[in-house]
Amino acid sequence: MAKLRVGVVSPEREIWSGEADMVIAKTVDGEIGIMPGHAPVLGVLVEGGVLRVKRGGESDLVAAVHGGFISVANNDVSILAEAAELGSEVDVAAARDALQRAQSSIEAGQEDADIRLAAKRARARLRAAGEEV
C-alpha cells in the first residue's frame, strides 16, 4: 500500500517528517483522518488540537498542534502549525502548571479569550504527552 509522506512544520523549525499510514488531525469542522489516496484538502486546524500519525509497526507519533493548516495533495500531507510540540518533548509538569493557573483564573471569574486559549493549549500538550486530563 502506498504511504503518506508527512511533514510537520512550524515557522521556526521542521518538527517531524517521515512516512505514515494514516494521519488524524482536528480541523474546525471536526476530526479528519487522512489515508493514502485521499483527495486534496486544505483545512484550518483548531487551536489546541492533537495530531496523531499512525505508522505501521511503530508506535503512533502524537503532537500538540496549536492553530495552522493541514494540506493534502498527492499523498503529501503537510501540517503547518503556528506552534507545535511532539508528545515526547512536552514538559508535563510545566503544562500541568499552566493548566492549573488558567483554571484557577477562570474560577476566579476573570475569563477571557487569552486564558481560555492557554487552558486549551495546556490540555492539548498534556493529551499529546499521553497524560489524562
Binding site: P11, E12, L42, F69
Partner: protein
C-alpha cells in the same frame, strides 16, 4: 626626538587594543552567522509549504476577492517596512537599506502615493526620528534574534492598518537578502496586495485543480493570508539578521586588517626614530670626546 618616540609608542598600544576589540567582534559575528543561517534554513520548510498552500487556494478559487488580495484603483498611501539592525559596527548595512528605502519612497511619491515607514531596528528608528519623519510603527530589540512572535506583531500592525478605511493601501518590505557569506543584497518586495510568487524550484510541482476546503474556501483564505504575510515578514527578519552578522564580520575584519597595517607602519617609524636617536647620541658623545681630546692636546 624622545617625545616623538613616546608618541608613537602610545599610538601603537592604542591601535593594538582597538585591533583586539575588532578581532573579537569579528569572531563573535562569525559564530553568530552560523546560528543565524541555521535559523534561516529551519524556517524554509514552513515558508515553502505556506506558499504552496496559498497558491493552491488562489489557483483553485476563480474569483478571489479577499480584502487582502484586492488592488485599490487609487492607492494613496503605502506602508514600507524597513528592516535595519539594532547595533552598529556593521559597515554599510543600515545605510544601504535606508538608501533603498528612500529610493522607493521617491518612486511611490512619483506615483502620487504617500509612503508611511514602519521601522524595525534601533538604527532605522534613530535615522527616522533624527529627520522628524513620522513612523507608522517601530520595533526594536530583536534584530539579531527575531522570533516568530515578533514577525506576528509586525504583521498584525500592518494588516490592521491595511484593512482600515483610511489606512495604507500597499505594503512593501525593504530588507537585506542573505545570498551567501560574501553577498547580501538589499531587496524591495511588495507583500500586499498579494502577488503569490512560487519559488522556481517547485514549478514542476503541479497542484491539482480540485482542492477541497475545510470548512470553506473563504474561511481558509481568511486565516491563510495573514499567516502568509507573517511568514514573509519572518523570513525577511531572519535573512536580515544573518546579513547583519555577515556584514559586521566583514566590517570588523577590514578594521582589524587596517589596524594591523597601522601597527606595522608605526613600528617601522618608531624603530627609525629610535635608531636616529641612538645615532645622534653616539655622534654627540664622539663629538664631545673629540673636543675634550683636542682641548687636552692643545694644553700640552
Amino acid at each position: 626626538m624622545g617625545a616623538q618616540l613616546r608618541l608613537l609608542r602610545r599610538r601603537i598600544s592604542s591601535v593594538k587594543s582597538t585591533a583586539k576589540i575588532t578581532r573579537a567582534q569579528e569572531l563573535i559575528a562569525s559564530s553568530r552567522i552560523v546560528k543565524a543561517q541555521q535559523r534561516m534554513q529551519a524556517a524554509v520548510p514552513y515558508e515553502q509549504e505556506i506558499t504552496r498552500a496559498v497558491s493552491g487556494v488562489v489557483s483553485n478559487t476563480s474569483s478571489v476577492d479577499h480584502p487582502l488580495t484586492v488592488e485599490k484603483e487609487q492607492p494613496h498611501s503605502a506602508g514600507v517596512l524597513i528592516v535595519t539592525s539594532d547595533s552598529g559596527f556593521c559597515g554599510g548595512f543600515n545605510a544601504n537599506v535606508l538608501r533603498e528605502a528612500e529610493a522607493l519612497r521617491g518612486l511611490l511619491e512619483e506615483r502620487g502615493i504617500r509612503a508611511v515607514p514602519f521601522v524595525v531596528g534601533r538604527k532605522g528608528v534613530t535615522w527616522h526620528t533624527f529627520r522628524n519623519r513620522e513612523m507608522g510603527g517601530r520595533w526594536e530589540g530583536f534584530s539579531r534574534k527575531p522570533s516568530y512572535a515578533d514577525a506576528k506583531t509586525i504583521a498584525d500592525t500592518l494588516i490592521e492598518s491595511f484593512k482600515e478605511e483610511n489606512g495604507i493601501d500597499e505594503i512593501h518590505i525593504v530588507s537585506t537578502e542573505f545570498v551567501s557569506m560574501l553577498t547580501q543584497n538589499v531587496v524591495v518586495k511588495r507583500v500586499l496586495p498579494l502577488e503569490v510568487v512560487e519559488s522556481e524550484a517547485e514549478s514542476d510541482d503541479v497542484i491539482p485543480p480540485y482542492f477541497e476546503f475545510e470548512p470553506n474556501a473563504a474561511e481558509v483564505l481568511d486565516s491563510l493570508l495573514p499567516r502568509y504575510v507573517e511568514s514573509r515578514i519572518f523570513s525577511a527578519l531572519l535573512q536580515s539578521a544573518a546579513s547583519e552578522e555577515a556584514s559586521r564580520r566583514r566590517a570588523m575584519k577590514s578594521a582589524t586588517d587596517n589596524a594591523n597595517e597601522l601597527i606595522r607602519v608605526f613600528t617601522m617609524q618608531m624603530n627609525q626614530a629610535r635608531q636616529a636617536e641612538i645615532t645622534q647620541e653616539i655622534s654627540e658623545i664622539v663629538g664631545g670626546a673629540n673636543a675634550l681630546a683636542d682641548a687636552a692636546a692643545g694644553k700640552e
